[in-house]
Symmetry: C2
Subunit: 193 residues, 2 copies
Amino acid sequence: MDETPGLRERKKAATRAALHEAALQLAIDQGVDGVTVEAIADAANVSRRTFSNYFSGKEEAIFHGDTVRLRRMLELIRAQPADDQPWTALTRAALQLAEETYLGNEEWLTRRRLLRGHPSLAAHQVAAFAVVERELAAELAERLSGDDVALRARVLAAIFLTTMRVAVQDSTEHPDRPLLDVVAAALAAAAPA
Amino acid sequence: MDETPGLRERKKAATRAALHEAALQLAIDQGVDGVTVEAIADAANVSRRTFSNYFSGKEEAIFHGDTVRLRRMLELIRAQPADDQPWTALTRAALQLAEETYLGNEEWLTRRRLLRGHPSLAAHQVAAFAVVERELAAELAERLSGDDVALRARVLAAIFLTTMRVAVQDSTEHPDRPLLDVVAAALAAAAPA
DNA sequence: TACAAAACTTGCCCAGTAGGCAAGTTTGCC
DNA sequence: GGCAAACTTGCCTACTGGGCAAGTTTTGTA
């Protein structure tokens, strides 16, 4: 395997990460509405035009972290044993991700909390979770059999993702309760018959 | 009860409906990206500025119909017997709404199909469904007992709404299958344990 | 190592957009 | 009738997304 994906790719990843970080921090400091794309680009030492080559708007930049985590979750799901029950596989992957996320980045939830409740952000978060829906449905279709596999896979994917979203949102509103707890409880409440 | 909510309110409702209708039709005719807010306002005989007093963007205007239907669904859910199992109440309400929607407006799905697959629209649709999530959660909390009522109500609300969204999206992609069928199958697949 | 092709950045540009403000108009109510 | 509240409109401005073309960096190949 290729350890280094090439200089070009590494630079792009760095720029993307810098823009994300700048967007997040500025949004926290000045409020989402108080930040301009230009300010974000400046903070990341890049032109405003380049920002547009990476993200389609500041909200997308702010939620880049979620996008990355969601992709990671897809990986984890694909890595689950093929003969697990689908919901079991999803639950395991979700708990693994929650653990990883929490260990690797303790301040994650704290920073989230600082931009909670903004309506346009909430809308974008919902959308961010929905983006991987089709990909996840395709994966789940492989693990299902019987009638209506396509529809059932889609429903399962949507349910799972929306449950994760609710767990995360709920976590930002109840700082006292461990993330793993909330995720586990939410997934248990959502488990299909 | 007051039959007439007053001239002012009726006019507002009419303007809103006209803007929605214009937005929908123009988006179908010229493509979502080809339509400007100004064109929509013109078609509804209203100034561009007034459009902004009603909707925050063309996507919101396009999905106004969904918003109305979702509010109607909330009503139907509240009207279900208080001692029904929550998921039973939700299922009944959903099927009633599907019937109403289909009977009252046969071309609804047909027109939807014409603007399927546009990414920015998909994102807004997801958001439109998520808007009522908290309201629905509050209603469902009344019907639950035991531990973690708040979280479980929220998860249930989110699951239900996302399932309805998937059913509708799936319906626009499979014109042959009756909407009621798809809704019933989706809700069955989503039913929590 | 050299160098052409591909990919990326940037500045310039423009049409579209949200929303503040103030003047004019319509509706509700006594 | 007449006043107050609500709504519409035009004007204005800062911000945005994305097309284009020129300049720069990386990559693959010879």
